[in-house]
């Protein structure tokens, strides 16, 4: 593998995000986000819907460009890379999409074989062995012949995981890996994330809003709010903190710093009031004000 370059300020960090601003059209999502991800850790990034979690993954992967700021991955500034350099960097990433994003026209085996066939010149017999080993690691060697449509949600997620780690990446990005999974599958996927990270010496960034699942596997939890890092905590801190926003998140309270109601004029006024107050005044962006 290539020589690991690290940024001078944080010798042990793989990703260094500095003062990143990003807006969809006019709607600001990230407003000066700074974050560093250390080598070898499993970092859980949490936050409500629309807090910019998934945007963060898009920025690190170079699929979207920030309006401002630096995103250093292994010493390279992702937004400034040309296509060839970006693709070279991406071969060292693994990404698990929210619902797996398996290629529906390929079998489980061919899905996992895809990165080898596209990125390497390995002979088919070697690819076969590698694919079977990766599938064994996620417990689905027996499902190699199935099509993605025949898999349950949890199985599809595990196949996608096997595909994502096929080329032994340095960095794994997980986009909501637990969404829509039953408790058993959630446990399996969570344990796989941790085990793969430690066994292969990866660095993992898990974007999620599943607090329980991520507390079990993460070394560190970062909570995003208002487009910035709001809190940087250890899993134990999350369990004991008295911070109202984190508590609301951790305990699943419907109302708190994140209001239950979308901004609206008072109900009585709207029900009895004059015409013209029939619609709420201009809405705010997102809903995660701490």
């Amino acid at each position: 593998m290539s020589v690991v370059k690290s940024s001078p300020s944080h010798p042990a960090s793989l990703i260094e995000i500095k003062d990143v601003h990003f807006a969809y059209d006019e709607r600001p999502i990230l407003r000066g986000l700074s974050l560093s991800v250390r080598k070898g850790e499993v970092l859980a990034v949490m936050g409500g819907s629309g807090s910019g979690k998934t945007t963060l993954l898009g920025l690190i992967g170079g699929r979207i460009l920030p309006n401002k700021g630096k995103i250093l991955v292994d010493g390279q500034n992702v937004p400034k890379l040309d296509r060839a350099a970006l693709y070279a960097l991406r071969t060292r990433f693994g990404m698990l999409f929210q619902f797996g994003a398996l290629f529906t026209d390929l079998s489980v085996f061919d899905n996992v074989a895809f990165p080898y066939r596209e990125q390497t010149n390995l002979p088919e017999s070697v690819i076969r062995d590698l694919v079977l080993l990766k599938l064994q690691a996620v417990g689905l060697r027996g499902a190699a012949g199935l099509m993605p449509s025949q898999l349950s949600g949890g199985m599809a997620r595990r196949v996608a995981l096997a595909r994502a780690v096929a080329l032994d990446p340095m960095l794994m990005l997980y986009d909501e890996p637990f969404t829509g999974l039953d408790p058993i599958s959630t446990g399996i996927v969570g344990r796989l994330i941790r085990r793969l990270n430690d066994a292969f010496g990866l660095t993992s960034l898990v974007v999620t809003h599943d607090l329980d699942a991520s507390l079990k596997i993460a070394d560190r939890v970062v909570v995003l709010a208002e487009g910035k890092v709001y809190r940087d905590l250890t899993p134990d801190d999350v369990r004991t903190t008295s911070d109202a926003f984190v508590r609301q998140f951790a305990d699943g309270l419907p109302d708190g710093p994140v209001p239950f109601h979308y901004p609206a004029p008072p109900l009585v006024e709207q029900l009895l009031g004059q015409p013209g107050t029939g619609q709420a005044s201009a809405g705010r962006d997102g809903g995660d004000t701490p």
Binding site: G61, R63, Y87, A88, R90, T91, F93, M95, F97, Q98, F99, A101, L102, F103, T104, F114, P115, E118, Q119, A160
Partner: protein, 265 residues
């Protein structure tokens, strides 16, 4: 007054967005052309799409061609026999098919049968993050997914148009010769004498090649830029059929004017 201004604003807005979309399609076309070598080098990618777009369209093309030919024979015979020249039926049918109906009807059927399927497939791949996943695996989705489907349309279209015309001629033979009883020899020999290879057949092939580029580009473009929702994919599929049909008919007019210019003057 205000309504008037709003109307003009709306008109300007829709013209601008149509132009922007056209520009986007142009850039998309260039992006495809940059990587068009990929499906040629990796032939298996192209073969798969040729099978799905071309081979799977065979039945509808051949059956439609037969029926169009049979109808042409009946209608043509009815008119020709008024002038006592019913033995020229072969020429009439062959020229109608090779010059116009073959390329045009094939393109319309292809847009409905294969173009819509390509749009829906790519749109759903986009909606389920398959294209994003491929991009994140450092595999260019334009090269791997889009260009084989585009090239398959360009390659299949002329072949299908030929088969359409051949089936049409055969249909006309069945009705004209076997059913109505026109002389077998004059049907074929008149056709041979009346159809020019360069002027008629090559021009017909050029037409269907151009239609292949148009329908192929519209189908992959609409799919690639379809909003990632059920509604978005369904309206993109409809747009493929509508836009392709209009494009084919308009291009046909332009090409016909260009190909047959000066011949009647």
């Amino acid at each position: 007054m205000n309504g008037m201004i709003e109307m003009i604003e709306g008109l300007g807005q829709s013209v601008l967005s149509a132009l922007a979309r056209l520009g986007l399609a142009g850039r998309f076309f260039l992006a495809i052309m940059m990587v068009i070598g990929v499906p040629i080098r990796r032939f298996s990618l192209l073969v798969r799409e040729l099978y799905f777009s071309g081979v799977r369209s065979l039945l509808i093309i051949v059956v439609s061609g037969m029926f169009v030919g049979m109808v042409l024979a009946i209608q043509g015979y009815e008119v020709l026999q008024r002038f006592g020249s019913s033995e020229t039926l072969g020429v009439l049918v062959a020229l109608s098919l090779v010059r116009e109906l073959g390329p045009v009807v094939t393109a319309l059927l292809f847009a409905g049968r294969a173009g819509s399927a390509v749009t829906a497939e790519i749109g759903l791949m986009q909606a389920t993050d398959q294209i994003a996943a491929m991009d994140m695996m450092a595999v260019n989705p334009i090269a791997r997914i889009i260009s084989p489907r585009f090239l398959a349309a360009v390659v299949s279209m002329p072949l299908l148009a030929c088969l359409f015309s051949a089936a049409g001629v055969f249909g006309a033979y069945l009705v004209g010769v076997k059913l109505i009883g026109i002389d077998d020899g004059s049907f074929w020999s008149q056709m041979q004498a009346g159809v020019d290879f360069r002027l008629d057949i090559i021009n017909g092939l050029i037409k269907s090649l151009v239609f292949g580029v148009a329908v192929g580009l519209i189908a992959v473009f609409e799919g690639y830029y379809a909003p990632p929702t059920a509604e978005g994919v369904s309206s993109a599929t409809t747009r493929t059929v509508v836009t392709s049909s209009l494009a084919v008919l308009m291009l046909d007019f332009v090409l016909t004017v260009w190909m047959f210019r000066g011949l009647n003057g």
